[in-house]
């Protein structure tokens, strides 16, 4: 890596760290790019050579966080045991636990998914292919293990699970719910969906 490139990378990292702290403590809406630059000890201009907007910074902060989340999932998923609904419960519980470490940041991320200023390169909330894939694999393996009906429509089930997952965050946004509360609600959603896709022979949970 050239000196210039590594300098740019260092600036990028400093901006992201500063932004993460400010978004979490002061909130996304009230934080300005100028404040982020000042905390990162770089010029406003150099922030804008790396990021197109505040929304873009938020999107990058969240993308970096997701890398850590999926590293954690990659470690855990192979060790999951039990029925398909139970495995799904564990996967979603890990997500809730992870995102509620910085609830405020995460809620800003959700709100920003509808923002006008997002650049095309941003990865807004709800369009993370990784989560979709992990859930899909889990249900598909359930067919192989025999507790999910073979005629299950994978896309539909995954889609319904993700809708439940995403909107259950409303409990955090509106009722200050913690990860445990949200996981408990999600567990019940999974149970109800599973009533519909469980293989006829499988013992009901």
């Amino acid at each position: 890596m050239s000196v210039r490139k590594s300098q740019k990378e260092a600036t990028r990292q400093r901006v992201l760290d500063a932004a993460k702290e400010l978004f979490e403590t002061n909130g996304y809406e009230t934080t300005t790019v100028r404040e982020i630059a000042s905390r990162a000890e770089v010029s406003v201009g150099s922030v804008f050579t790396t990021f197109s907007s505040k929304g873009d910074i938020l999107s990058q902060v969240m993308a970096d966080r997701l890398d850590a989340l999926y590293a954690e999932l990659d470690r855990v998923v192979p060790h999951l045991r039990g029925s398909t609904p139970d495995r799904l419960r564990s996967i979603f519980a890990i997500h809730y636990a992870f995102e509620t470490r910085r609830t405020r940041l995460f809620l800003a991320h959700i709100a920003a998914a509808y923002n006008w200023t997002l650049s095309p390169t941003s990865r807004p909330y709800g369009r993370t292919p990784r989560l979709k894939q992990v859930i899909r694999d889990c249900v598909a393996e359930g067919v192989v293990r025999g507790d999910v009906a073979p005629e299950v429509n994978l896309d539909l089930v995954v889609d319904a699970l993700l809708a439940s997952y995403a909107w259950t965050y409303r409990l955090a946004a509106w009722d200050d719910a913690d990860a445990e509360t949200m996981s408990a609600v999600m567990d019940r959603h999974i149970g109800l969906l599973a009533d519909g896709f469980r293989a006829p022979k499988a013992v009901s949970q």
Binding site: L107, A160, H189
Partner: protein
Amino acid sequence: MKHVSSNIEVTGETEVRVPTRRAIAKQQTRAKVLSAARRLFSESGYEGATIRDIAAEAGMSTGAVFANFTDKSDLFREIMIADMEALVEAMRDGVSRGRGVDDTLLKLFMAGYAFYKSRLPLARAAFGISWQPDQGQELRELPPVLQLQDLVSEQLTQGVERGELSQEAEVKLRSQMLFDCYLANFQEAIFGGWSLEALQAKAKDQIRVILAGARRG
């Protein structure tokens, strides 16, 4: 029934209070500001539209706007109330034409997507706001918003009463999941440019999957 009762009001001999000219002018100003605000929120989003822009769009001073509305969130709330009330009506109408739980729910969903088809940017702004701490709470507690959710669970309750769904259908939870899917599909409508037909196909499948475990028999 509706026609009957409105006829009675018109022909009744109750004293009709004639609004003053001033009150009419105030009403007109409010309507003008609201439609300007609606246009700007749709064009630039909630954050992007300022009171100053809205005043300019309505052809009046910011002072005149503030004489009628406390702030920007007041304006947005007024727009949301009007839309949500119309939306509930559209959904009730859809429900009245439905046959059976699945079809009724589908018509309810589709009434929503059709209603917002021409105002997706406003829906987008509303979704963004609904996740914000203070304003989000205000939005979700609007009476028509609560009615909207009740409408979904009413359909399930009636499905249970008619014997289409089992007594153990967990109506509350299942209607929440249906509502989650209804909302989640706006992502496809807003960002994916999905047609009403595509939304209908998806919603139909979702309803089937969510109700699958609740069928009787």
